[in-house]
Amino acid sequence: MTVIATESLSKRYPRVTALDRLSLDIGPGVTGLVGANGAGKSTLIKILLGLSPATEGSAAVLGLDVHTHGSAIRERVGYMPEHDCLPPDVSATEFVVHMARMSGLPPTAARERTADTLRHVGLYEERYRPIGGYSTGMKQRVKLAQALVHDPQLVLLDEPTNGLDPVGRDEMLGLIRRVYTDFGISVLVTSHLLGELERTCDHVVVVDGGKLLRSSSTSDFTQTTATLAVEVTDSDAHPDGTAALRKALTEAGLTLHAGEEQGLPGAGHILLVEATGESTYDTIRDTVADLGVGLVRMEQRRHHIAEVFRDNDQPAYTAQQKGAGSDGA
């Protein structure tokens, strides 16, 4: 089944080409749409919602043509805009009930679905208070709730992690993942940060300048090699446990990556070891035991998508990836 299909879709404004013969075929699941600001992500969403006619080419959402069935598409699709869109003087409940009715839900169903949806996105007692007093994270949850309240088959999320702190980002990404795994609703999520999407998406589409740069499943990107992250404690015998382990593992014949975990807690103490098979785990365990240090963690790390693009000579994206921690605009 195809959720979104576009065929040489183009959108030209008098002075700028927003989309340039874009052909996509997106199936169910969580799909990331990545591109720099101005790459054509928002234009694509507008066309998919049937709100803006394409200059040429065609697009279909859930098997419905966007040009002729805009209203029917919008009944089955949810949309979460990038910008603020919440009136501050009403409560989340009142607002989402109203939006549910705007999607065609009868009054009773609108109230029930609102209560359910707000609970699922993690808003409890505060949902009766005016939205004006909410934190950014709570507002983002209300925005997500209004996109989900009518139980769509597909939601389009435009930069849902914008403006959130790292913890808020992780929560939002986890929530987005659940929208598909628990609720069964397919997701198209845009971001200008590649790194965010590897944890969340089954499939990543990269657009730049309105053109398709790359479209492949996340597992294609990241399953080629597995990386293990290992963190150990220091002991009296080894005041710097990390350094001792690095030396011992290298001697044991394992390949270690330079740590590229800047910005994460304990970044300097995490060793990234390339796993070649089951034996790697045993080697690490034995080495750690021989050194007599404590093993804090040993976990699988997938490669960052950015590394894949770095290999493919896409310096622009690695630059964005590095800006991931600070760039929230």
Binding site: L49, R74, E75, P81, C85, P87, D89, M102, G104, Y124
Partner: protein, 295 residues
């Protein structure tokens, strides 16, 4: 995602929705009723109920007094003022109501960028504009027609001539219906031009009152200089004198123009055309406004 609090009793998983989806017409109707209720502060905070309810009361009190006087004074055969005169006399209250509620209805959606959420749903631009316009006009009609209804009921209680009173009441209703459509259109266009509510309020008051003041002043000059012919044409340039002209020409009203003549049926037809043109123009302007405000 499940909360760790001990107060959580159960967490039934996600339930999908298989019930009816009532589509565009239902959504438009819901938006209409929400906007109409909102115009009287219903479904909004207690604070936002104060002004519309107060103005509604202010509109009704004179009608109650008129009725009380009509019933109390022995031997009276008609109400002290005509049905059609009532809205003209209370135009300041009507203007204040429009200035306070039209921005509430449309500026909020623009200011807080809620409009894209509407347009990403089954309704289209035309549904949004029609629902908002109809809701504002209905709210205005309730405001202006309720006192007339009070007067009519009072007149019947006072045992005035039924046919006479009902005819006057009907003419009054047609007049305030036209007034509601015209004023709402102007008010909504003004309010939709700016996302800032304060500017909207000021703009609406200015558009209603400044032309009225200017027209009345120039009409007065024309009257005192014996230039009575121009009085009728001058009335075309402000919303309330436009209504005055139409109802004087067609609805048996007494004009408030200097000299009390009011336009003849011929000129009255021009008045009607201008009024209908303004209503259609307001609608077109709103449609154009929301083409841009879309997503």
């Amino acid at each position: 995602m499940a909360p760790e609090t001990s107060t959580q009793i159960h967490n039934i998983g996600y339930r999908s929705y298989d019930g009816p989806r009532l589509g565009r017409a239902y959504a438009r109707k819901s938006l209409f009723s929400q906007s109409l209720r909102g115009a009287y502060g219903l479904g909004r905070s207690a604070k936002s109920k104060v002004l519309p309810m107060l103005l509604f009361a202010v509109m009704c009190v004179p009608a109650l007094i008129i009725v009380a006087v009509a019933i109390a004074v022995p031997g009276s055969t008609d109400l002290p003022i005509k049905y059609t005169t009532y809205a003209l006399t209370t135009q300041v209250v009507i203007g204040l109501y429009l200035a306070s509620q039209a921005p509430q209805s449309v500026s909020r959606d623009l200011r807080f960028k809620t409009v894209p959420l509407y347009f990403s749903r089954p309704i289209e631009r035309v549904d949004y504009v029609v629902a908002k316009y109809a809701a504002m006009a209905s709210a205005m009609f309730i405001l202006t027609a309720t006192p007339l209804l009070i007067m009519w009921i009072g007149a019947l209680l006072a045992k005035f001539d039924f046919v006479d009173q009902t005819k006057g009441f009907g003419q009054g209703l047609v007049s305030v219906l036209l007034l509601s459509l015209l004023f709402s259109g102007i008010g909504l266009v003004m309010a939709a031009l700016t996302p800032r509510r304060g500017f909207g309020v000021a703009a609406i008051i200015a558009v209603l009152l400044i032309p009225y003041g200017a027209v009345t002043a120039v009409q007065g000059i024309a009257y005192s200089t014996g230039n009575a012919g121009s009085i009728d044409w001058l009335g075309l340039f402000s919303p309330i004198t436009l209504i005055d002209g139409v109802q004087t020409a067609f609805l048996g009203a007494t004009s408030a123009f200097p000299g009390g003549e009011g336009p003849s049926a011929g000129i009255g037809f021009v008045y009607l055309l201008v009024a209908l043109g303004l209503i259609a123009g307001s609608y077109a302007a709103l449609m154009a406004r929301y083409r841009k405000a879309g997503l």
